[in-house]
């Protein structure tokens, strides 16, 4: 007996799948933009903040890096509403899957991005920071105009890699029934009895998206940074 492939589900469910892809890309975009922003703040606090603040930031980063992402998602979906209900006394308070997912991803990705950005700042020669300060710049100005532009250039490949990993991690939201791309594909597969086709298709789409990111990294590495000494 041979298996008869039938790919027609894909075409029929196209709008639904696109909707799922929309959710996936939305989560990636929000988690990346906010994650890089907070990650930069965290990295600066770790490197330049007063000792107590630096240790707090380090604790935050280590905490979220040691916890499985899926657990963080669970927390925000199940635990946070309980806590808020207990505090506010409102028995109907709910976070909702979208906000739970955004909160979990932003908090966790900030921790991952922080470590990349910290390494990126460390990759800029110490003399650059000294030279900027010798010209009268404050620490903030030296970071903004001299150190961070070079750091971000050095760490672009690592940032893209992390974002590719984030893209795959967003599929974890199926645990709180948020309809991302993988969730949509799985549901269609179940409905039509075409799981094999849908999971193969989903794999191909993730592969294509991740390959785009990897190609971007290669392109950047080959081109290098022409203005570096």
């Amino acid at each position: 007996m041979t298996y008869n492939f039938d790919w027609s589900s894909i075409a029929r469910a196209w709008p639904y799948l696109l909707d799922g892809m929309g959710t996936t890309l939305f989560l990636v975009a929000v988690a990346m933009v906010l994650g890089v922003t907070f990650g930069t703040v965290l990295a600066i606090l770790r490197l330049f903040g007063p000792r107590s603040v630096a240790m707090l930031a380090a604790g935050y980063v280590n905490f979220f890096r040691s916890i499985p992402l899926i657990l963080t998602i669970f927390w925000f979906f199940f635990l946070v509403p309980l806590v808020v209900r207990a505090i506010t006394g409102n028995p109907y308070f709910a976070v909702g899957p979208v906000y739970a997912a955004i909160a979990a991803f932003v908090l966790a990705e900030s921790a991952y991005y922080c470590e990349i950005i910290r390494a990126g700042i460390g990759s800029v020669r110490a003399g650059q920071f000294q030279a900027a300060r010798a010209l009268g710049m404050t620490t903030a100005q030296a970071l903004l105009y001299v150190v961070l532009p070079q750091a971000f250039r050095n760490m672009t490949p690592a940032l893209i890699n992390q974002t590719v990993a984030l893209l795959k991690d967003t599929s974890l939201v199926y645990v709180i029934s948020l309809n991302d791309f993988l969730g949509a594909a799985a549901k269609i597969g179940q409905r039509d009895g075409r799981q094999v086709e849908m999971f193969l298709f989903a794999a191909a789409v993730y592969l294509a998206l991740c390959s785009l990111g990897t190609m971007g990294v290669h392109l950047l590495q080959r081109r290098g940074a022409p203005s570096r000494r």
Partner: protein
């Protein structure tokens, strides 16, 4: 202009500066020399507080460097510094290197900063390179741009931290020529350098350091001419550096 009084600094238990005292007057060119590890680079970096120190005081133009805290950037903007490894900003063009701090620190307008930057670029003989990135310049050219960048801030004193040590030998001359020109124009300069030819030609005084101490601090004629009056350590150093 600069008074360094009984300055000491420790890295952990290791004393890098031991009770250093000297002064640099307006218009004076002072060369600081000594074997590596003697603390000369550390001493020059305490003047604009890139290196903190634990004891003593440093007065620059009437302001005590030690307790400045938030006032430090203001002081540093008035003290030019040139580094061994140039430290031009590699992501910016020559022009942007020259104007960044003028605009952001001194609050000058873009046009004014550009005019000033180009004037000093002209002075170090690199006006044609204004749109290039540092990586497209030779080491000697980069260092000349770095000098122009510092001068564009209208500093009251220029600090040089081994400005020619990282250069290929054939490029040392072009950087020294710029420095000689500055000295002849009456700029107050404190230079850590091994270029004894430069010291002989334009310096007024020579400071010799060893193991964190200022061992010699005398006029250049005494330093190079009256060798018998020098300390044994300075004589040894001079015989090594002058005999080849």
């Amino acid at each position: 202009m600069i008074a360094i009084n009984n300055v000491s600094k420790w890295f952990g238990d290791f004393r890098v500066l031991a009770d250093c005292t000297t002064r640099i007057d307006k218009g004076e060119v002072v060369v600081v020399c000594g074997p590596s590890g003697s603390g000369k680079s550390t001493l020059i970096k305490t003047v604009n507080a890139l290196e903190p120190f634990q004891q003593g005081e440093i007065i620059v133009d009437g302001v005590s460097v030690g307790g400045l805290g938030r006032g430090l950037p203001k002081l540093r903007a008035r003290v030019g510094m040139v580094f061994q490894h140039f430290e031009l900003f590699p992501h910016l063009t020559v022009t942007e290197n020259l104007t960044l701090a003028q605009v952001r620190v001194l609050g000058r307008g873009k046009a004014e900063a550009l005019a000033k930057g180009l004037r000093y670029l002209e002075r170090v003989g690199l006006a044609v390179q204004k749109d290039k990135y540092p990586a497209q310049l030779s080491g000697g050219q980069q260092q000349r741009v770095a000098i122009a960048r510092a001068l564009a801030m209208d500093p009251i004193v220029m600090l040089f931290d081994e400005p020619t040590s990282a250069l290929d030998p054939e490029m040392v001359g072009e950087v020294l020529d710029v420095m000689v020109g500055l000295a002849n124009d009456g700029m107050t300069m404190m230079c850590v350098t091994h270029e004894m030819g430069f010291a002989r030609k334009v310096s007024h005084r020579v400071i010799f350091m060893d193991e964190g101490r200022i061992v010699e601090d005398c006029g250049k004629d005494a330093f190079f001419g009256d060798i018998d009056a020098r300390s044994p350590r300075a004589r040894e150093f001079l015989s090594k550096i002058l005999n080849h």
